[in-house]
């Protein structure tokens, strides 16, 4: 609405135009919102509704399970308090004990023999700066576990070393995990490469970390 400065009358043409424009804008806005596509859904929705795939997750865990139950991984996740040794996963010679922190006891601590790197020579002690078993308070046993039991255990913070999903994902590149693929002379490697293992590990987790039925 405008006042004509010459005759002082209100200019109704301008008011009409303004009204029509407002209504038009309103209609366009309503129409546009009806076709709106949200590009950034809630994160949780992304994980729980879109990415989850129990079939793909369980299939990926087949590879994960094969690796974790291979001697390179399982030997340091024994059912008892003595680590396992060799490709046949026999009890470690000298029967070193786990100890409270998983680093051995008294004169039989892991790092007394296991150096920061592999010792040269056939079947000599393999090495890593962090060489240890899981601690006594959380033994994280692999030996004897079915695929179902192990998958459940791996995502249970009370049994997996208090790891959330982010930490589980990072664990694929943990120094001791990687050491499995550098086992020293005379020891077989895990059944797939670390890259293949990591891919399966991430797929299993990102697709929902489903446990196989058995």
């Amino acid at each position: 609405m405008m006042q004509d400065p010459k005759n002082g009358k209100i200019n109704f043409v301008s008011m009409k135009t303004a009204t029509v424009l407002s209504v038009l804008l309103f209609v366009i806005a309503i129409g546009a919102s009806a076709f709106r596509k949200d590009e950034t859904p809630v994160k949780e929705l992304t994980l729980s509704m879109i990415n989850k795939d129990s079939v793909e997750s369980v299939k990926a865990f087949e590879t994960v399970y094969k690796v974790l139950m291979s001697s390179r991984c399982m030997n340091c996740h024994p059912a008892g308090d003595i680590p396992l040794q060799g490709d046949d996963s026999h009890l470690h010679a000298m029967a070193p004990k786990r100890g409270v922190e998983g680093k051995g006891v008294y004169a039989m601590k892991c790092s007394n023999c296991h150096q920061e790197t592999n010792t040269p020579g056939l079947h000599t002690p393999p090495g890593n700066p962090e060489w240890h078993l899981p601690p006594a308070a959380m033994k994280m046993v692999f030996q004897g576990k079915s695929a179902h039991e192990l998958a459940k255990q791996l995502v249970d913070k009370k049994q997996n070393g208090n790891k959330d999903i982010k930490k589980l994902i990072e664990h694929a590149d943990d120094g001791l995990v990687l050491a499995g693929w550098n086992p020293g002379e005379g020891r077989t490697l895990p059944p797939v490469s670390h890259a293949e293992f990591k891919k399966a590990w991430l797929t299993w987790i990102n697709k929902g970390a489903y446990a196989p039925k058995k």
């Binding site: 010679a93 000298m94 029967a95 070193p96 004990k97 006891v105 008294y106 004169a107 039989m108 601590k109 790092s111 007394n112 023999c113 150096q115 920061e116 010792t119 020579g121 079947h123 000599t124 002690p125």
Partner: protein, 159 residues
């Protein structure tokens, strides 16, 4: 080869050695301390045990570079007059037969008694299982460790 200084039995030893050399060779051949023995060379028998910052490491697989800046103690450094309670107990019980493994046995027993002053038979087995004795003196070793524990207790200041 590199110039390396090792602290062995509280004495500085300037040595020229490959940093990858087993500590055992530096102790025996370069520092001239022959009490520590070579047994298997692959950390399986315990004859070569010395203390590295108080831990009973196997010097045959421990690289010289790991010992730099740390305190190495060999059987010669345990006491000047063989008067350490464990050495005295070993003499009292007359533990050794051939004696070859016993510097390693004693060094391991000392760590056990430091960490567990009153060890049970099971503690002794857990601590000493990595020290092999081809003469089979295990029962005397166990008795000597119990005796040393008693001696340590008597010698400790009463609180």
């Amino acid at each position: 080869m590199a110039k390396i200084t090792l602290n062995i039995n509280k004495k500085e030893y300037p040595l020229e050695a490959d940093p990858q050399m087993p500590l055992l060779w530096a102790i025996r051949d370069l520092a001239g301390l022959k009490g520590t023995k070579y047994g298997c060379g692959v950390a399986q028998c315990g004859a070569c045990v010395v203390h590295l910052d108080g831990e009973a490491v196997r010097s045959c697989v421990t690289k010289v570079s790991r010992a730099v800046g740390k305190q190495v103690v060999t059987i010669e450094g345990l006491s000047e007059t063989n008067s350490h309670p464990v050495q005295k107990a070993w003499q009292e019980i007359d533990v050794p037969q051939c004696g070859y493994c016993h510097s390693g046995q004693i060094m391991s027993a000392v760590v056990l008694l430091r960490e567990k002053p009153n060890p049970t038979d099971q503690d002794i087995d857990d601590a000493m299982a990595g020290n092999i004795c081809r003469c089979g003196t295990y029962l005397r070793i166990r008795a000597a460790i119990h005796l040393a524990a008693d001696e340590q207790k008597k010698a400790a200041p009463q609180g």
